[in-house]
């Protein structure tokens, strides 16, 4: 089956293929739109206290559209999950926001309890006192 390439070369090719697939798989598991991921890393968008994404400072129309699309999908998810848990949408969204802010990577932007944009450092995020 290996033909003139030899079984060792074939094995190496397979290993390389698996490595590429694994890398691609982890990126896909994140599932983020590349434009969204880039904006997030650049601090152009940030996690808000209410559980939605916000544009930090001025944003291009494309960025605003991406953020609005994400927020619409988040809201639909919150509505569905809140109903299943017999909670209000606002409370569920706030609870998600607590976790999302806690999960920000260093360098990303998030909203502090007073509403101002903060940059995540290496320490824990500054969160609303009602967060768990």
């Amino acid at each position: 089956m290996a033909g003139k390439f030899g079984s060792k070369a074939l094995m190496a090719a397979m290993a390389a293929g698996i490595a590429v697939a694994a890398f691609a798989g982890s990126a896909a598991a994140q599932g983020r739109d590349p434009a969204y991921a880039a904006a997030r890393a650049a601090g152009q968008v940030g996690e808000k206290v209410d559980g939605y994404l916000g544009v930090v400072g001025g944003g291009s129309p494309d960025l605003k559209r991406i953020v609005e699309d994400i927020n619409i999908r988040r809201r639909a998810l919150y509505a569905e999950r809140a109903e299943a848990q017999h909670a209000t949408l606002e409370t569920y969204a706030f609870t998600s926001g607590c976790r999302l802010i806690a999960q920000t990577e260093p360098g990303e932007k998030y909203q502090g309890p007073d509403g101002a944009w903060l940059t995540r450092g290496s320490g824990p995020a500054v969160r609303d006192s009602r967060c768990y």
Partner: protein, 99 residues
């Protein structure tokens, strides 16, 4: 059998009723139009009644003059936040694309 007693003579009734070839309607006319106000007035009344019926079902919606402010401080119950924490974490993990 009851014999009808006319206030005036029968000829007087006949005379007044047929004074100009068309039967007179002996109804008090306060504003010149009266209850039966002719075909045009009737059509107008029907139009007014119909539009009133249609308009009665309308709901007037006015946008608030001030922007709607959602007071986050009022609506968040910390006990509920604690109880939702697990489900929210699961939801975020299952939908990584938008979080």
């Amino acid at each position: 059998m009851i014999t009808p007693n006319l206030t005036e003579s029968p000829s007087a009734a006949k005379r007044d009723a047929m004074s100009n070839g068309t039967p007179r309607i002996a109804v008090a006319r306060s504003n010149g139009r009266g209850r039966h106000a002719g075909r045009a007035g009737m059509a107008r009344m029907i139009l007014v009644a119909a539009s009133a019926t249609l308009l009665a079902g309308c709901i007037t919606v006015n946008a608030p003059s001030k922007p709607i402010v959602i007071e986050l401080n009022i609506k968040i119950d910390q006990n509920v936040v604690y109880s939702l924490a697990g489900d929210a974490a699961k939801t975020i993990d299952e939908n990584k694309g938008i979080f």
